[in-house]
């Protein structure tokens, strides 16, 4: 935020104009021209890394739905490619609002990636950034640069976000993480038990998940960069955790009292508080982005349906009435949209629901299991698992069901959770 304020100061007038741009209804707002990067590399490895960096940066922008990069044929119309002084009039004439000029240099086995963003109408240089690091971090440098662009335009950074998931590629179900685009898949647990249903903290350093390492489903928190686990809940089945935006309160469901009820664990006091009291299975609690309400599922009506309540468990209201089996809800960062799965003829599809209007839109199609949908931190993308190609794999699609892409290949991969960012008022 501080950096953001700085931009405001420096480029006051312009920045204000750009920040009012709203990306709505999937109409890409920012036409960006990204001419091929200038590459100054000495080794073959450097060349490969530089190319990977450029590819990563470009595919980030096309994925975002915030930017609408100019097609190669439009790019080729602009002949003057002086990187120091881009021909902004020419770029404007082919439809670009902004131009990103990138340069990758190799120095002592490391890469320097610098980029400059220009406004084609005003002719202003509006953003400059550079990164320096080992060649193996070329993807990360590209993601960081992309995030700076998103932040500059008032959007949530998502290119450095990660996805936690469960995979049985090595035999039994263990916890993994990967970059949002499927790269860098890393195994985190080696319990030989069974792991399931992970959830990220907002600081990106913790994952709450269920583990059968001691026989029954217990709730743990993994401190990713310390490699440590903390046992949160045991006895009965302890599943479906969700961190509050300050990461101090963890919602989860436990069947310790005899049937699944919703609890809040407080990390500071290390105490638990039960907030639902029904004879039904209450599961999948999710904090609203402002932390004042909780979404959850309950089969108190006979079959699972989605409910909303205040954070103390009062004022319970059912919100889904279409379909006989609705579960696995996820709240969008805007607080108005939720996604969930609905069962029809034994198969699951993903639905979008507007809390303000109760409008329902079907997002996934086909006769397969499409499960555990989860929004990206900017609410524009949805990750989910599906067995549409045989085994369960993890897929990402946009909020309108478009741009489907598969992120995993080996074994069964399921129960994805996209990392979060802090809620900003």
């Amino acid at each position: 935020m501080r950096k953001f304020a700085l931009f405001f100061l420096i480029f006051g007038l312009f920045a204000q104009q750009e920040i009012t741009i709203k990306i709505k209804g999937g109409v890409p707002a920012i036409r960006i021209a990204v001419p091929d990067f200038v590459r100054k590399v000495k080794t073959e490895r450097g060349e490969m890394s530089a190319l990977e960096l450029e590819d990563t940066f470009k595919s980030d922008l096309s994925f975002s739905r915030v930017f609408d990069p100019l097609s190669p044929s439009l790019l080729s119309l602009v002949k003057n490619r002086n990187p120091e002084k881009p021909d902004l009039k020419a770029w404007e004439s082919v439809g670009a609002t902004v131009v990103f000029v990138g340069k990758v240099e190799e120095k002592d086995g490391k890469l320097r990636f610098s980029g400059k963003l220009y406004d084609t109408r005003t002719g202003n240089f509006i953003l400059g950034k550079s990164y320096y690091g080992d060649e193996k971090f070329s993807r990360l440098m590209a993601h960081r640069m992309g995030d700076e662009l998103l932040k500059f335009f008032g959007q949530s950074p998502i290119f450095t976000s990660k996805i936690a998931f469960i995979s049985d590629r090595d035999g039994n179900r263990e916890l993994y993480i990967m970059d949002y685009d499927g790269a860098n898949q890393i195994r985190l647990t080696y319990t030989k038990g069974m792991e399931m249903l992970p959830a990220w903290s907002h600081d990106g350093e913790k994952i709450a998940y269920t583990s059968y390492r001691r026989g029954t489903p217990e709730l743990y928190v993994r401190y990713i960069y310390e490699g440590k686990d903390k046992l949160i809940a045991t006895g009965g089945s302890n599943i479906t955790p969700d961190f509050s935006s300050d990461d101090n309160l963890l919602l989860y469901s436990s069947s310790l009292p005899g049937n699944p009820e919703i609890y809040i664990y407080n990390f500071r006091t290390e105490r638990k508080r039960r907030i639902t009291f029904s004879h039904a299975a209450d599961l999948s609690p999710k904090w609203s982005p402002d932390g004042r309400k909780i979404l959850f599922t309950s089969d108190r009506s006979g079959y699972p349906q989605i409910y909303i309540m205040d954070k103390d468990g009062s004022n319970v209201r059912r919100i889904t009435f279409q379909g006989s089996y609705n579960a696995s809800p996820c709240w969008a960062p805007d607080g108005d949209r939720i996604i969930y799965v609905s069962r029809i003829e034994g198969k699951f599809n993903i639905y979008l629901f507007y809390l303000s209007t109760s409008e329902v839109i079907k997002l996934s199609s086909g006769f397969a299991m499409n499960e555990n949908p989860c929004f990206s931190p900017d609410g524009r993308h949805i990750v989910f698992s599906s067995n549409r190609s045989g085994k369960y794999q993890i897929y990402v699609m946009d909020y309108d069901g478009k741009n489907l892409r598969q992120l995993t290949q080996m074994g069964n991969n399921l129960m994805p959770a996209w990392s979060k960012i802090k809620y900003r008022r």
Binding site: S255, T297, Y325, S328
Partner: protein, 180 residues
């Protein structure tokens, strides 16, 4: 002469009679003896084969071997249901007999589901199935603290298929002997 003739007649008659008797015996005896043998077999089986011999086996076997023998049979459930079906009760009654004749044995009941539920709800459903199975055995007389339960939801199907036959197999409660 009269006496002699009478004696001969008597002998002949006796012989004839005897002949008759033999024939009758041949006809009648076999079925009777078969029935008698069958009855004897049934009577012998009950007391001898079952408890004494198996009890000793268990002592000698590892838990793994015992579980491989499958003394306790799994039961199946209806779609989205966790009540014990009437046709599954005789299986649990047999499991009960085995458990009551092995009073030191402790078991884990695993509840499982077919794929047509979410991961989360299947954990809850599998737990209900395991509990229903435990409650039934407890109602027959097995001590509550001999039975632990766990739900695996839909994570461990027996049959990976996507049809009614596979689903019916996968909706189940299984026994794992955890102490002997």
């Amino acid at each position: 002469m009269k006496k002699l003739a009478l004696g001969i007649l008597t002998v002949a008659f006796l012989i004839a009679l005897g002949g008759c008797k033999k024939k009758q015996e041949v006809k009648v005896v076999p079925p009777i003896s078969k029935k008698a043998e069958k009855k004897a077999e049934v009577v012998e089986e009950k007391p001898i084969v079952k408890p004494a011999v198996e009890e000793e086996n268990i002592e000698a076997m590892s838990l793994e071997e015992i579980n491989r023998k499958g003394y306790l049979r799994r039961i199946h459930f209806d779609f989205d249901k966790y009540n014990i079906r009437d046709d599954q009760k005789p299986i649990l009654q047999r499991d009960y007999l085995w458990l009551s004749s092995h009073p030191t044995v402790k078991v884990l009941i695993e509840g499982h589901c077919d794929e047509r539920g979410t991961e989360e709800y299947n954990i809850a459903l599998g737990e209900k199935r395991a509990k229903a199975t435990r409650n039934y055995l407890v109602s027959l007389g097995i001590s509550y603290d001999r039975i632990k339960i766990v739900s695996y939801g839909k994570s461990r199907p027996i049959d990976p298929g996507h049809n009614e036959e596979a689903w019916a197999k996968n909706r189940r409660a299984e026994f794992v002997i955890i102490a002997k």
